[in-house]
Structures are given as structure tokens and as C-alpha cells.
């Protein structure tokens, strides 16, 4: 009897813990980030807090050559005049300067995507920040392990 009554309580606790983790996600986007990177992101977002949603950031998990790392960013969006992604900014957390590139998008593209190749000096997180037509921000990050660095070498 006692075990039976305990189980649902545990389930309820686990569920609430899950909710807690979800509500903390916007903070996690900035966790363990270099001050220069966080500052560069805030120069774009101002006081707005980015949401971790709708962005897919594709990068290799391991880059043998940091001088040439393929990057692809896709954002879920209908890309219509009324609802589209205006920009995607990409940052490298531990490069000499955090900014990598800013892509300016328009509804004429039909899909919110941009691909390029980047330089990463050391193993680090790459961050993608998308700006919606109405001034909201979406964020995603991915770690790339760099075998041979790509800055100054």
C-alpha cells in the first residue's frame, strides 16, 4: 500500500523537475559562455531573451581542420511577408573575436537557411541567433571539437 502511494508522487516529482528544466532553458543558452560572446549577442538582442527553439545548427562534431568547418543553419519559418526570419547571426565562443557572420534573409528566399564554412581556433561552442520579423530571438548552440586550430596557424 505505501509503495503504491509513493510511486505516483515520484512520478509527479519527476514531471515537475522536467518542467523546471524546461523553464530554465533560456538561461542555459548563456551558461558557461565567454563574456565577450554574451556581450556580442546582447548587442544584437538588446534586452530580449532568446528562446531555444526552431533553429537547427549543423556542424561536424569533430573538425580535423579548424580552418574550414562547414556550417549550416536552418530556421523553421514560413518565410512570408507576414511571418519570416529577418537575420541569422553566428558566433564562435572562443575565437579571438566572437562574431563569425550575419546573414540577412528575406521572404523571397522561401526557406530560412544559410550555409558557409568557418574558422575555429580551438574546441568550442558555435552559437546561432535568429531574429524574427517581429523582433524576437531564437538561439541554438553546438560544440565542435577542433583537432588542428584555425586561427593564425
Amino acid at each position: 500500500m505505501t509503495t503504491a502511494s509513493r510511486l505516483p508522487r515520484r512520478t509527479a516529482f519527476a514531471a515537475s523537475a522536467g518542467l523546471l528544466a524546461l523553464s530554465l532553458q533560456p538561461r542555459a543558452a548563456f551558461a558557461n559562455m565567454e563574456a565577450a560572446t554574451a556581450a556580442a549577442i546582447r548587442r544584437v538582442t538588446g534586452e530580449r531573451t532568446p528562446t531555444e527553439a526552431r533553429i537547427t545548427l549543423r556542424l561536424p562534431a569533430i573538425a580535423e581542420n579548424g580552418n574550414n568547418v562547414p556550417l549550416s543553419v536552418t530556421v523553421e519559418s514560413p518565410m512570408t511577408a507576414a511571418d519570416h526570419i529577418r537575420a541569422i547571426h553566428v558566433f564562435a565562443d572562443k575565437n579571438p573575436a566572437p562574431e563569425i557572420a550575419s546573414f540577412r534573409l528575406t521572404p523571397a528566399m522561401g526557406r530560412a537557411q544559410a550555409d558557409t564554412r568557418i574558422r575555429l581556433g580551438v574546441t568550442q561552442d558555435v552559437i546561432a541567433l535568429a531574429e524574427t520579423h517581429d523582433g524576437n530571438f531564437l538561439i541554438a548552440r553546438a560544440e565542435v571539437r577542433v583537432t588542428i586550430g584555425g586561427c593564425g596557424g
Partner: protein, 111 residues
Amino acid sequence: MTTSPIGQPRLRLPQQIRAGEVIEIRTLISHNMETGQRRDQAGATVPRDIIRSFTCRFEGEVVFSMELHPAVAANPYIAFPFRAERAGTLELTWTNDAGEERRLTQALRIT
């Protein structure tokens, strides 16, 4: 101080494009993208010299643009989607730190 030459730009479009199709426009331009972080053999810093912006227009309207920083790899590869509704002219422009431009125009045909 001389700027490094902006090399030949290249553009790749699908062989056949249907009206309304979202295609991928793939571009490449040769440029060494000098970061400004590197030192030469004498220990002097090699000055920064990069392609700093790229713009794609269709029939004069901006479709897509990009601001590049030194962390973009040498010989910048840039690819992006475009909804091809009708035939027209694509115009791509790359600009370096000195403000020099390289332009490429290409007819987009609908099959």
C-alpha cells in the same frame, strides 16, 4: 600595403528550375581572408584583409546578404535558398575591406 586580389567568383544553380521551386544558390569566390591575427616571418602582424560583405539581388531586389568576419574560411563559400517564381537576372556582389567589388550576373531560367 596591397589588398589581396578578389578571385574569380563562381555560382551554381540547378540544371532545371520549375516555377515556384525553392532552389539552392551556391557561390564561391577565391580570396585568402587574411584575419589580421597572423604574423609574418619577421614577426609583424599581417594586416586584416577580408571579403566583408556579400549581396544577392534578383531583378534589382535584395534577396539575401551576408556580413563576413575574419572567422569565415578562406575562399568564402556561401549558399542559400531562393524561391524561383519567374525568370530574371541574379546579381551577386562581393565587397572587400578596401571597398572593391566583384560582381557576377547570371540569367535565371524557368523550365
